[in-house]
């Protein structure tokens, strides 16, 4: 089947997808693999879909699978609201609706010839996972590739298989840390931002992708700037509720920007001043 480019028509109606696999990542996070019932649609790392559960509603979910195989699409979902809770309970074989992809992707090209640093907190690994997969496929284009992965506790770690595999592959320096450990955890303990001053990468020649809670991204940026990373080389992805995905429902506004239309990926100078205003 032909792979289509980003759709611009029919943005009100979802296309049918069938769930092929449901993988329980943690107690409240699942990854749902879906196959298109029509033609697959190309996406780029960092983009998101509007995912519809029959009769319940729609939620904006970033795509966590490999952009090279748009015929097998994954969304990694934490149960938070009605729709995401329903998504967590779906079984293989169920049909869901998807429209997208939407949004500005990670600037992977900008990282070519430089070190690529990825900082992910919790489920924040999902939106950067396609970027990691893409970068590892073209490993020669980048200097060091560094992943700093934080989770609240060992039981909240997502994509464990990937973390193990990437670590073993040596193509990427993987540093995992948890905020609080449990018995049997032999890894690092502490917030992920504490790793930033210590891990090896070239602050003056790198691009950083960060995804996680706003407060984590804020402290990450602070630590990165302190280490000498130019602000315009730091990228964050922001999250707010969305109804349309194309900049017309108004919900995801942050001052002058619509997160869906102008983001969700932003450079630090684009949004630092906005994130600094309470309740904007």
């Amino acid at each position: 089947m032909p792979v289509l480019d980003v759709p611009t028509q029919g943005t009100l109606t979802s296309r049918p997808y069938q769930i092929t696999t449901v993988r329980h990542q943690t107690h409240d996070i699942v990854t749902i693999d879906v196959a298109p019932q029509q033609h697959p649609i190309a996406f780029r790392p960092g983009q998101f879909d509007m995912v519809y559960v029959y009769g319940i509603g729609e939620a904006a979910i970033s795509i966590s699978s490999d952009p090279a195989t748009p015929g097998l699409l994954s969304h990694t979902i934490r149960a938070v609201g009605w729709v995401t809770r329903a998504l967590n309970d779906l079984q293989p074989g169920t049909r869901i609706g998807i429209r997208g992809p939407y949004g500005r992707p990670w600037p992977l090209q900008e990282a070519e010839g430089k070190d690529l640093v990825i900082i992910a907190g919790g489920i924040g690994l999902a939106p950067v996972r396609p970027a990691i997969v893409e970068a590892l496929r073209h490993r020669e284009r980048y200097g060091r590739i560094v992943l700093l992965k934080g989770a609240r506790s060992p039981r909240d770690l997502v994509f464990r298989d990937d973390l193990d595999r990437w670590h073993a592959d040596r193509g990427i320096d993987v540093h995992v840390t948890v905020d609080s450990a449990v018995r049997g955890w032999g890894g690092r303990v502490g917030v992920v931002t504490k790793l930033i001053p210590r891990v090896p990468f070239d602050p003056e020649n790198c691009v950083v992708l960060t995804c996680g809670p706003e407060v984590m991204m804020w402290f990450s940026a602070e630590a990165l700037l302190k280490r000498g990373v130019p602000p315009e080389r730091i990228f964050v992805t922001l999250e707010r509720n969305m109804k349309c995905g194309v900049g017309t429902c108004g919900h995801c506004q942050l001052g002058p920007v619509f997160l869906c239309r102008d983001g969700p990926v932003f450079s630090w100078p684009e949004v630092a001043g906005l994130l600094d205003v309470r309740e904007l």
């Binding site: 611009t8 028509q9 029919g10 943005t11 009100l12 109606t13 979802s14 049918p16 029959y54 009769g55 319940i56 509603g57 729609e58 938070v80 609201g81 079984q91 074989g93 169920t94 049909r95 609706g97 706003e214 999250e239 707010r240 509720n241 109804k243 349309c244 194309v246 900049g247 017309t248 429902c249 108004g250 919900h251 995801c252 506004q253 001052g255 002058p256 920007v257 619509f258 239309r261 205003v277 309470r278 309740e279 904007l280």
Partner: protein, 394 residues
């Protein structure tokens, strides 16, 4: 689409009262669904116009912050009022819009059935210049964004605009500040001016070739110098009555540089966060969607409806509301309307129609609020209020 495709080439003409009737008849004859001002529930609102008698002839309105009343005029003007609570938005981007339905065939499968959206042949009859400007703003948002909105586009596709220049601005109007009125040069297919001196008549100018063709089919006279002077007189007298002003100089920087101004707190003490301003605003476009199923779960549907940034749940991150205070929600609305709209759509979101002032239950006046922020922006004077309260004076 809808945009004026040609400059008027013909001369201004004059229509009699009968001519107005014939113009409306012509629109019906050509298959237009005609929408215009009409009296309903003690207000002048947009409704279907089947004949000239449906127009609010002899009615005027009295508007002030938080105040709207119909009043009898001393003449028989057809358009002797300012804008009411409804606008073209209600027709082009309705409060409730069915998006699609879905049928479930078994527990795991469903099929989405797209709602048909026949292209309507709509004519707006008697729109004020500020309302024409509001349509242009909605066009920017809903037609010329990264995608074209299907609902709006279907309604907007064949719209014909017959505007009437404003001779009766209300006390809440400030169109001259936003450069949207009271006169109109382009943006409508036909531009009328109601002339009440001497014989009751209408000066008519075509703004597009469609308007030109329409005029050709309606009996008219060539406009005289007196008619043209009479139009100038109508506009001059309307301008003279426009007392309210909004100084838009560097307004983006002014508002975005004052996000922590204490005035937002003072407004929040009055603002009920009722969303009236967003509902009457002819450009506010925010929506939400509602998903439903029947009891058996075999049919689902999705409907889009107007939403408002004044509601607590409007914006959230995860389950947590982003704008918990009324202060932040009013600030979102005002800064969006007057400042960040420019970043997003290269135009102000405000056309100066004054509806948000009139229909605010507590009479909050955005022109006054902007003025206060402007006058105090350098020093950010606190505490508020700036006007000494009667208690302090006593």
């Amino acid at each position: 689409m809808g945009a004026p495709e040609a400059q008027p080439t013909n001369e201004p003409v004059v229509l009699s009262e009968d001519g107005l009737e014939r113009l409306l008849g012509r629109l019906h004859h050509e298959g237009y669904e005609v929408i215009g001002p009409t009296v309903r529930d003690q207000a002048i609102v947009h409704g279907p116009l089947s004949e000239v008698g449906d127009l609010p002839r002899g009615w005027g309105d009295e508007q002030a912050p938080g105040h709207y009343r119909l009043v009898r005029r001393e003449d028989d003007a057809y358009f002797g009022f300012a804008v009411g609570p409804s606008s073209a938005k209600r027709t082009l981007f309705p409060p409730r819009q069915p998006l699609w339905t879905a049928e479930s065939r078994d527990d795991a499968n469903f099929e989405i059935i797209e709602t048909e959206r026949p292209k309507r042949r709509l004519a707006f009859f008697g729109l004020r210049p500020c309302e024409v400007a509001a349509i242009a703003v909605q066009d920017r948002v809903l037609l010329h964004g990264i995608v074209e909105d299907e609902v709006y586009a279907a309604n907007r596709a064949a719209v014909l605009l017959v505007a009437v220049e404003c001779g009766a601005p209300a006390a809440t109007c400030f169109c001259h500040s936003m450069k949207t009125g009271p006169g109109l040069e382009t943006g409508a297919d036909l531009i009328l001016t109601e002339l009440l001196d001497g014989e009751h008549r209408f000066l008519a100018r075509a703004g597009t070739t469609t308007g030109e063709e329409l005029l050709e089919r309606v009996e008219h006279d060539v406009a005289s110098e007196e008619d043209l002077d009479a139009r100038k007189e109508v506009l001059a007298s309307a301008s003279a009555r426009l007392e309210r002003q909004l100084d838009t100089t560097e307004i983006h920087g002014l508002l975005m540089g004052n996000l922590d101004h204490p005035r937002w707190d003072a407004i929040a003490e009055r603002c009920l966060a009722c969303a009236n301003c967003t509902l009457v605003c002819p450009t506010c476009f925010c929506t939400t969607v509602e998903d439903r199923t029947d009891l058996a779960g075999t049919e689902a549907s999705r409907e889009r409806r107007w939403d408002s940034c004044f509601s607590l749940e409007f914006t959230h991150t995860g389950p947590a509301s982003v704008r918990n205070s009324t202060r932040s929600r009013y600030r979102q609305w005002l800064t969006h309307k007057l400042a960040t709209w420019i970043d997003q759509f290269d135009t102000s979101g405000c056309v100066g129609c004054g509806r948000c002032i009139t229909w605010c239950p507590v009479g909050i006046d955005l022109t006054e609020e902007v003025d206060i922020i402007r006058r105090t922006s350098e020093e950010n004077v606190a505490p508020w209020p700036m006007v000494p309260s009667p208690l302090q004076e006593g």
